[in-house]
């Protein structure tokens, strides 16, 4: 059988330049990074050995404790989501074109994008100076972090709503609040609900991460047992994290599809 000829791709100078720059950066990073390359040779065998230690006989006797800590993590995620929604929704309405003054819109959008650029762990480190290493710190960090994403999604959703009902509400003499309630909300509601659920999914993942700095929950338990090198418990904890995260994603994803597409879809 003859080989299938692959058509040649067009060559533009910009493409060539980008390829060269990317290659140089990658080679420089490989060449300069501080890694003991000797370790890489035994790495696959090592990782295989650790995977065996973790998953060959997971330590199920600590499961109740793990489930309790998972519950604490999910609570953190839930409270963080609810607080984030309460903070972000009014802000995102004010940040939408047509509803807030220009200077306020600009300022809020800048705040949203700055928050999005800061990892939630750093936000938690700032907040823990006030609340200490408690689950509340985790929830507050998730809430603040959520303002960045929910705020952006919110004003984008309000701005992409078809303008007809808004004009109609305005023409009928509605105040800004009435226009938002009757012109925007009925149209944007499914999008908002679906964003909130999606943010909850993100927060479930992040709440496990926040535990790593000691605010409690499953991440906290995972770090402790990793530090004790109790691999069979670590394996059990990873299984719990994976199962819980996938279950919540599946449930929330099904709800989101139902909200966006209606009960008869699929």
């Amino acid at each position: 059988m003859t080989a299938l000829a692959v058509p040649a791709r067009g060559r533009s100078p910009w493409r060539m330049l980008s390829v060269v720059v990317v290659t140089v950066i990658v080679v420089a990073a490989f060449w300069s990074v501080q890694i003991s390359w000797g370790r890489l040779a035994d790495l696959p065998a090592d990782i295989g050995r650790y995977l065996w230690l973790m998953f060959s006989a997971p330590e199920w006797s600590k499961l109740p404790e793990a489930l309790w800590q998972t519950w604490r993590s999910i609570e953190m995620a839930w409270v963080g989501t609810v607080l984030g929604i309460l903070l972000a929704t009014p802000l995102s309405l004010v940040a939408a074109r047509g509803f807030g003054p220009l200077w306020l819109r600009g300022a809020l959008r800048l705040v949203f994008s700055v928050i999005r650029a800061v990892p939630e762990l750093i936000i938690a480190i700032i907040i823990l100076s006030v609340t200490g290493l408690t689950p509340l710190t985790g929830a507050l960090a998730l809430a603040v972090n959520g303002v960045g994403t929910l705020g952006k999604w919110g004003y984008e959703a309000v701005e992409t709503v078809p303008p007809g009902p808004i004009e109609a509400a305005r023409a009928a003499g509605g105040s800004t609040a009435q226009v938002l309630r009757w012109g925007v909300w009925p149209q944007a509601q499914p999008v908002f609900l679906s964003f909130w659920l999606y943010r909850f999914e993100i927060n479930v993942r992040s709440s496990a991460v926040l535990g790593l700095i000691g605010v409690g929950g499953i991440g906290d338990m995972l770090t402790s047992y990793t530090q004790y090198r109790e691999w069979s418990t670590v394996g059990m904890l990873l299984i719990v994290v994976i199962v819980v995260t996938m279950a919540i994603d599946a449930a929330s994803g099904a709800l989101r599809r139902r909200i966006m597409e209606g009960p008869r879809a699929r």
């Binding site: 080989a3 299938l4 990074v33 890694i35 006030v130 689950p135 509340l136 992040s206």
Partner: protein, 272 residues
Amino acid sequence: MSAAQAASAPALAIPARPRRRAGVWIAIAVVAAITVITCLPAIGVGLDIAPIVANWRNGATKIVELLTPDWSFFPRTVAPMIETLQMAVLGTVVGAAISLPLSFWAARPTNPHRAFRGAVRTLLNVIRAVPELVYAAVLVAMVGVGALPGIIALAIFNIGIIVKLVSESIDAQDAGAIEAGRAAGGTQAQINRAIALADAWPAFVSQTLYVFELNVRASTVLGLVGAGGIGLLIDAVRTFYRYDQLSLIILEVLVVVVVIDLVSDAIRRRLV
């Protein structure tokens, strides 16, 4: 509108609202109940204003420190920041290299074997369920402190994202070109190489750049669990409560993230 006009305007007749179905009220009640339960101190997060009020001063001085960055700390942050970027670059390269074949195995047009495709997709769903910092924390205990566990954690994290997005774009590809390849007598491997790869390439490049942006953000905190980069320094300054130094690091992270996003956007436009 003058007062007289306002008074003479007829009252706005609002049509009766459609009755809400019971399901909506039940949903609202469930959400409210869960929120109350999660806020209880005994089994919840203990949403309590008292410690916030009591420690407000503490927080206020920290915020003042945050607003006055310690610029003299800058020279010590340069080397860790470079290591952070190295980790982000290498994690992206390794992750993208492993993702390319996996994406083809996870997509229907390029992998007709149902069971094999299902196995690849399930494995990736499992990989995606674990956050990158959890991978990093476990890997640090396995291979030791440094950039290596960070790079591996980022690579695993990237495989989860790239394979999902690229295999979805392959699934959405125009079936005509692949049928033409099959009609011309190409084997599956030849079709994948000559047709599907050419079609998937722009998606692959742009997703790779996207995960690079994610990696720059993620790699700044990987050090908090011991995986190298600027996060190690964040961990050190937070132990000593040096919020003025922390503030400088956050500013640097912000600048680096914004610059990388701009550069990667520019490259994406040239390449795709």
